[in-house]
Amino acid sequence: MNKLIVSLSPHVHGSDSVKKNMYGVCLALLPAMLASFYFFGLGAAVVMLSSVAACVFFEWAITKFILKQQRLTILDGSAVLTGMLLAFNLPSNLPIWIIVLGALFAIGVGKMTFGGLGQNIFNPALAGRVFLLISFPVQMTTWPVSGDLDYIDVTTGATPLSIMQKAILEKNPSVLNDLPSSIDMLIGQTGGSLGEVSALLLLLGCIFMLCKKIITWHIPVSIIATVFVFAGLLHLANPIYANPLQVIFSGGLMLGACFMATDYVTSPMSHKGQLIYGVCIGLLTVIIRNWGAYPEGMSFAIIIMNAFTPLINTYCKPTRFGEIVKKEAAK
């Protein structure tokens, strides 16, 4: 008889895998990606392709030539996902060399210096975006108008976020009349980065991930609800602040809440922690958008809270079995 394998229980596995989760997120991003191609044309496709290709290339090159690892990590889908997310954070007329630089920072500094998949403190795609935003502020904030399909020579225009900021700076609520309607913003008729065009398709992707149990509701819902309530209160107090519906459908909020903040590696482990993390991101986003130097606060808010994730993990433990009883008995 052949020898029996002896190992400890459990002897079966639920067949979930890293690949399934990573490519699941990529799949959830697909509708929004196609929408960005539709609204921004060739430019969006060029940005998307070069970002994904550069991220995968840098991951491969670093593991092979610097870390000298045998294991091929580029197939696990995480580099592809970082590339897609980075592209979603960029305007569609960005020169390729800037995109490649962003990808190098995202993968090289954001991810591999910390030890690769699972070890990074900051979301790599966001690290790449923030690096580019600070290094190339002009190129990163010149937004082609949606519907302009040319890559090289595009008309640029104001985004909803810059209009909102202008209204606050000029203390003039009538500036807000230039905003597209909430419905247009939901469907995608606005200027901005690739991932800012269609809140609706991003929401659909988010629902797909929830159904597939790739993520839980805690982070996206707590961010969107916090922003809605905070922005709503401001709007009621003073009409120079935009309508909360327009706030949640504008800029990178949906992308950030559903796809960036929910990044496994850089978000808290317990549901309690995830709620605290989400609420803080929501508050920071509104604060930076309204009173900060940059019109968009989502990426800074997430990066800041990424840094607090280890602290949240230390103090926010899941409810232990038996604790519920203790609380009831104390009442």
């Binding site: 029996l4 229980s9 459990p10 596995h13 639920g14 895998s17 890293v18 690769g116 699972g118 899941p318």
Partner: protein, 447 residues
């Protein structure tokens, strides 16, 4: 539908043998009786080489209060009283009997007539516990904790209800399911006996919803006993865990160790244990046989066998079509918590609920990838622990941190490792950490 509140997973059920009625297994040529068939002190052998024994003859007496006696399940001659390999993979003291004929001790009632509690009005709680203790009954779901100890709550603790564990949440296993379909009345009387033994008036039977036929039958049969209630439960692993079952059925949670399940007022007994209690008290039959599921995707005839304790596993597999060519791993118990066997010549014991044969493809673990901190293990943990963290600090041998993170609360159900997308051996490390921390705690309290 009721279930426990925290965590849990839903593995593929694979109840291949659910439709296969319980068959009597053949007598073995040689039976091996380990003196280590329960948790607690081992039994002490009271026979020597050459002794003639019958079915029901005492082979080993209990080695203390938390212990249980061992009886012969066959008749014949003792050929060896020596160490032998058992299902745990250790060589430990055992009595080997060469089988001749099938002679039973006369005190055992071998008829199949149902004896109800009303037929035996003279039985009182003390007598019932004494009979259970004498019969060597232990928890037959797999934990093998001596039953009489559970029925004697420590001073100051009072039982309020008895819950029968008919969940059988382990995939593949169907022994309890078949027992309910074929001996519902005996199980109900067994439950009444336990209720009488601990002097309570409320009994529950918790059955998962994937056994609708058993729920229907037990509900129907239980109608004659208004104090017994059948509770259908939503299918979720590890509902058969004692703490999870109490939470699911009566909504109370056992506090962290050193608290015991009895602190919630509940006493939990497995279906098989209730049946054995019935036989012990009403038929005077010590624990000498049990129902075991022999199953596996490549096995020709997945079956439920009523087999004598001490029968070698290899013989039981022969009766179900023989060991398949592609066998990679054989597990004593279910796939979530069972133990992989070193050899098939080891005998079945009181705790053997199943034997699962996995082919070599199923038997291999997938390649381990880095932890992506997805928190799926945290969501799956039924004890509200953080498996990724416990595993990591155990790997780093930081025992102080492991104790601080409540590693001793782990029930080793394996839900975390089952769910981990990176296929990390979480429970391997947590077991190492848990046993080390428990040792440290014991050493500290001994000072």
């Amino acid at each position: 539908m009721k279930t426990f509140k925290i965590g849990g997973v839903h593995p593929e059920e694979n109840k291949l043998s659910a439709q296969s009625p319980i068959r009597e297994a053949q007598l073995p040529k040689q039976a091996i009786f380990s003196m280590f068939q329960h948790i607690g002190a081992p039994a002490n052998a009271v026979v020597k080489k050459g002794d003639e024994v019958k079915v029901g003859t005492l082979l080993g007496e209990a080695g203390g209060f938390v212990s249980a006696p061992i009886y012969s399940s066959v008749s014949g001659k003792v050929s060896k009283v020596d160490v032998a390999l058992d299902a745990s993979g250790l060589r430990r003291m055992a009595v080997t009997v060469d089988v001749e004929g099938d002679e039973w001790e006369e005190t055992i009632d071998r008829s199949s007539d149902l004896v109800r509690l009303a037929d035996r009005p003279e039985l009182d709680g003390k007598t019932i516990v004494e009979k259970i203790k004498t019969a060597g009954i232990v928890g037959m779901g797999g934990a093998t904790f001596p039953t009489h100890v559970k029925l004697c709550p420590p001073p100051g603790k009072v039982a309020e209800c008895v819950i029968v564990n008919a969940v059988e949440c382990e995939p593949y296993l169907t022994a309890d399911h078949r027992l309910m379909l074929e001996h519902p009345e005996e199980i109900l009387v067994g439950l009444q006996l336990v209720m009488k033994a601990v002097n309570v008036t409320k009994g529950y039977i918790g059955i998962e919803n994937n056994k609708p036929d058993a729920i229907k039958l037990m509900t129907e049969k239980a109608k004659q006993y208004p104090e017994i209630e059948v509770v259908p439960l939503k299918v979720k692993y590890p509902q058969g865990g004692e703490k999870q079952l109490i939470d699911a059925v009566i909504g109370r949670q056992v506090p962290a160790p050193p608290a015991l399940p009895i602190d919630t007022g509940a006493i939990v007994q497995n279906v098989g244990t209730c049946f054995a209690i019935y036989e012990a008290v009403m038929k005077n039959k010590p624990l000498i046989d049990r129902v075991i599921t022999i199953t596996g995707k490549s096995l020709a005839k997945p079956s439920n066998l009523k087999a004598r304790l001490g029968t070698p596993f290899s013989q039981l597999i022969e009766e179900c079509g023989g060991l398949p060519e592609d066998t990679g791993k054989v597990i004593g118990g279910g796939p979530m918590m069972g133990k992989a066997l070193l050899s098939l010549d080891v005998p079945m014991t009181k705790g053997s609920s199943g034997l699962l044969i996995m082919n070599d493809k199923e038997a291999k673990r997938a390649e381990v990838e880095p932890c992506i901190r997805c928190a799926k293990c945290v969501d799956a943990c039924p004890m509200g622990l953080e498996p990724y963290l416990l595993s990591r600090i155990s790997e780093q041998r930081d025992w102080e941190a492991a104790e601080h993170e409540d590693i001793v609360s782990c029930i080793e159900c394996g839900s975390c490792q089952f769910t981990c997308p990176s296929h990390r051996p979480l429970l391997d490390y947590i077991r190492l950490g848990k046993s080390t921390v428990m040792g440290i705690i014991r050493a500290r309290s001994a000072k």
